[in-house]
Amino acid sequence: MLKSTLVTAGGVAVANWGALFHSQTIAAEAKRSGKRCIMLYMEGGASQIDTFDMKPGRPTGGPFRPIKTNVDGIQICEYLPKLARHADKLAIIRSMRTKSVDHGIGGYHMHTCYPSSEKFPHAEIGAMIAKYCANPESDLPSFVKMGTVGCNAGSGYLGPQYEPFVLGTDGKLPGFANPSAPPAVQDRRAELLKSFEERYARQRPAEPFASHREAELRTIRLMRARKAFDVADEWTKARDRYGNTPFGRGCFTAVKLAEAGVSFIEVGHDGYDSHNDNFPIHKANLSVLDPAWSSLLQDLQDRGMLKDTLVVWTSEFGRTPAINGQGGRDHFGRAWTVVLAGGGIKGGQVYGASDRDGFEVAEKMVGEGAYFATIYKALGINHRAKHYLGSRPIWATPDGSEPIEQLLA
C-alpha cells in the first residue's frame, strides 16, 4: 500500500501535496479555475443498453425497461430510479466510439486519452486536473483514488508530485496514515526529531537533506489533514441514502474530500465485466450505483458545490448489444455511453445516438479526444496544454481533439 500511495523518487516520498511543487504560475491558474472533479469509474465495462441507451422491444434490449426521468424525452433504466430524478443535471453521451477494447488498454486510454501502445508515460486525468486545479495551499492530496479503477498510469510525465493518493475501497485511509500514538505523543516525538535534525543539518547543509525534510513535512501535513478522511460519524447518518456499500461510502467520502478542497477524486465500482449473466449482475450493481450516485449529486447541490464540481460516470468501454450464449454481454467500444454532470456541463440533455440495435454510432460520434477535451474545458483547463518529457512535447489531448460545445454550460 505504501508503495502505491507514496512514490519514491531518489529515496524521498513525494505524494501529490499541493504547494510544494507548484509554481506561482500554476497556483494562479488554479485560483482562476476553482473547479474539481469526481469520477465514478465502472470497472469492467458497464453496459450502455442496460443503463442509459436502452433499446426496448429490440432483440438486443434485454430484460430491463426504461423509465421516465425529470426531463421530458429522456428515459433511463428502471433500476436507476433515484438517478432519474437528477436527469436535469446529466449530459448523456450515447455516441462514444473508442479504440481500446480490453481492460488494461481500455482503462489506460480512458484515463489518459492516449493508447498504451505508444509506450509513453502519459498522465492520468486525475494528475492533469490536480496540476491545473489543485489548491496550492491545501494540506490535502490533490488526486485521490478509491476502489478498483482499472489504471495505474499515475502522473506519468507530469512528475511524481501528482501521483494519486490511494484510499481503501470504502474511502478509508491506509493504515500507515493512522498512527497509533496520541497527538500529544506525536508532537513530543516531532520536537525531538526536529532538534536532532537541526543539529545534523548544521553540520551537513546538503540538498538531499532538504528533500528529506520536505517529504517529512508533507507527511506531517497529511497527519494534520487526515480528519478530512474520517467520515465515520457522518457516515452513520448518510449510509441509508448512499447505500451501505463500499462504493456508497466511497461516494460520500468523495463529497467530503471535494468539500475539503481535493481537486480530483476517483471512486471505482468494480464487477461490471459480465461476459456471463449480464442482467442479474447489472441489476445488482445498479442497486449499489443508484443510491450512491444520486445522493452524491444531491449533496453536491445542497452544499452549493455542484456548479464547480464535474461528475463523470465512465468505464473502460461499454458492452456488446449482442447477448451471448452465456447470457452475457462482451467488450464493446463502437457505440457506448458516458455521462457528465455538474460543473461546467449543461445538464438535461442527450448527446449523440446509437442505431436502433446499438451496434453503431448513428449521430455525433465522440472519441477519446473530444471526451477529454470537453472535461478539461469544463474545468477551465486548456485541453491542448503542452508539456515536456525531456525535450519531447506532449499535449493534454492529441492533435485534433476539440471540446463538444453543446455539452458545456
Binding site: 432483440p59 430484460p63 481503501g168 468494480d270 461476459h275 449473466d277 449482475i281 448489444p321 450464449g325 447470457g327
Partner: protein
C-alpha cells in the same frame, strides 16, 4: 439397474428465437419450453417414426424473461414465473385458442444480436409453423420484482415462489391464493419444497461478481425454512463450511420420495467454481456426498422417477447421470451438439422414458431413456 446405455436422441426441436430457460413435460408425450423472450411453446411428441414434431401451441402473456416453468402432477396446469414480476397459470391440456403461427430457425440467436453477421456460418432455412395461441388462465401479481424460484409439492397442493427482493411466497396451488410469505435477506436464486410441504430450501445471493473487504454481508446464504412459521430452521452455509460456494446454488431440488435434497453449485460472472452437486440429508441438511458435477457450473437438476438416479446439465455442454447410492457417474451424453453454449435446462417425463434438454442457442433435444 438401468445404466442408460441405450439412451439416444429421438428428436431435435428447433426454436432459436431466444435461449430456452426451462422445460417441463405435460404427461409423457408433450413437452413445454419457456424462453428468454417470454414465450412458451408446446410440442406433441407423439408423431410417426421419422417425423420431427412441430410445436402445436404457443402461450403468450409474459412481457419479460420466463425464469421457470412446471406442470402440476395431474398434468392439467402449467405454471410459469417471470421477470415481468408475475406468476401465470396456463391450461396445459386445452387445444382451444386463436390460430396463429411461429417462425422456427429464425436466425435470431446466431445473427440477430451480433455485430459479426458476416462471420456467422450458413443457417438452416426458417420454418413457419401454424399453431394455436393461448393466453393465461390466471395471473398472480403478489411479487414486486423478478420471480426467479418456483417449486411445488408432489401432491400438487402447495406452490412456492421466490423473487430477487428476497420474498418467498407459499401458495395454495389449486386456488392460486397466497398462504404465507416471509422475507429473506438476499435474492432467491433457486428453491425447492419438501414433499410434505413443510420445508422450503432456498439459496440466496446478491449477484456481484467480486467480493472484497466490507462486502461480507453479501456472502450467499442457504437456509431451510419452516413453512408454518416462516423462520429459518437450518443455516446450511454454516453447516456446509468449506463446501459452501461463493456463488449461489443454481438449482435446489427435493427428490419426490423425500430422501434427498440436491443442490448444484452454479457460477456467476467470471468467478471460478467447481460446479459440484451436493447431496444432502433433507432433515438435517448434512452433506451425504458430493458429485463432481460440471466444470464451471451446473445449471439444472432432475431426479429420475426410478428414485436411483440424478440427472444434471451444465455450462460444459454436458448432460450427466449420477448414481444416488454411490455418487458415481453412470454416463454422460457427450457435448450437446457441440454448439458452444450451455445446456440450460432438463426435464424427465413422469414415466422416466424421455429426457428433454435445452440449450442457450434455442434448441430442445428429446432423448429416449429406455433400455
Amino acid at each position: 439397474m438401468n445404466d442408460f446405455a441405450n439412451a439416444k436422441v429421438l428428436h431435435t426441436l428447433p426454436w432459436n428465437s431466444a435461449y430456452i430457460t426451462s422445460l417441463a413435460f405435460i404427461g409423457n408425450d408433450r413437452v413445454a419450453a419457456s424462453s428468454k423472450n417470454g414465450e412458451i411453446l408446446i410440442w406433441n411428441l407423439a408423431v410417426p417414426a421419422g417425423k420431427t414434431p412441430d410445436p402445436v401451441r404457443r402461450l403468450l402473456g409474459h412481457t419479460n424473461e420466463i425464469n421457470a416453468i412446471l406442470v402440476t402432477p395431474d398434468g392439467r396446469t402449467l405454471i410459469s414465473v417471470s421477470s415481468d414480476r408475475t406468476v401465470k397459470y396456463w391450461d396445459a391440456t386445452s387445444a382451444q385458442g386463436e390460430p396463429g403461427s411461429v417462425v422456427l430457425n429464425d436466425g435470431f440467436l446466431p445473427k440477430g444480436v451480433t455485430e459479426k453477421v458476416d462471420k456467422v456460418p450458413p443457417l438452416p432455412p426458417p420454418i413457419e409453423v401454424k399453431l394455436i395461441v393461448q393466453k393465461p388462465l390466471r395471473v398472480l401479481t403478489n411479487h414486486t420484482e423478478w420471480v426467479l424460484g418456483l417449486a411445488q409439492t408432489p401432491d400438487g397442493k402447495t406452490l412456492v415462489t421466490g423473487d430477487d427482493q428476497g420474498v418467498i411466497i407459499v401458495w395454495d396451488l389449486p386456488a392460486g391464493k397466497e398462504r404465507r410469505r416471509w422475507q429473506a435477506t438476499q435474492w432467491i436464486a433457486s428453491l425447492g419444497i419438501s414433499p410434505d410441504g413443510r420445508t422450503v430450501a432456498a439459496s440466496q445471493h446478491i449477484p456481484f461478481i467480486r467480493f472484497k473487504d466490507g462486502m461480507e454481508i453479501y456472502v450467499p446464504q442457504f437456509h431451510l425454512w419452516d413453512v408454518e412459521s416462516g423462520q429459518s430452521k437450518l443455516d446450511l452455509r454454516k453447516d456446509l463450511g468449506k463446501d459452501f460456494p461463493r456463488e449461489a446454488m443454481s438449482a435446489v431440488v427435493y427428490s419426490p420420495d423425500g430422501k434427498w435434497l440436491a443442490a448444484a453449485h452454479g457460477k456467476l460472472g467470471t468467478e471460478k467454481t467447481q460446479g459440484k452437486i451436493l447431496l444432502l440429508d433433507p432433515a438435517t441438511g448434512k452433506k451425504i456426498r458430493d458429485l463432481a458435477g460440471h466444470p464451471v457450473g451446473t445449471n439444472d437438476l432432475a431426479f429420475h422417477p426410478d428414485g436411483k438416479h440424478l440427472f444434471s446439465c451444465g455450462r460444459d455442454q454436458m448432460i450427466k447421470i449420477w448414481n444416488l447410492d454411490d455418487g458415481k457417474l453412470v454416463r454422460d451424453f457427450g457435448k450437446f451438439a457441440d454448439r458452444g453454449v450451455w445446456i440450460s435446462a432438463i426435464s424427465i417425463s413422469p414415466d422416466g422414458r424421455l429426457l428433454a434438454a435445452a440449450d442457450r442457442a434455442g434448441q430442445v433435444l428429446i432423448y429416449s431413456l429406455t433400455t
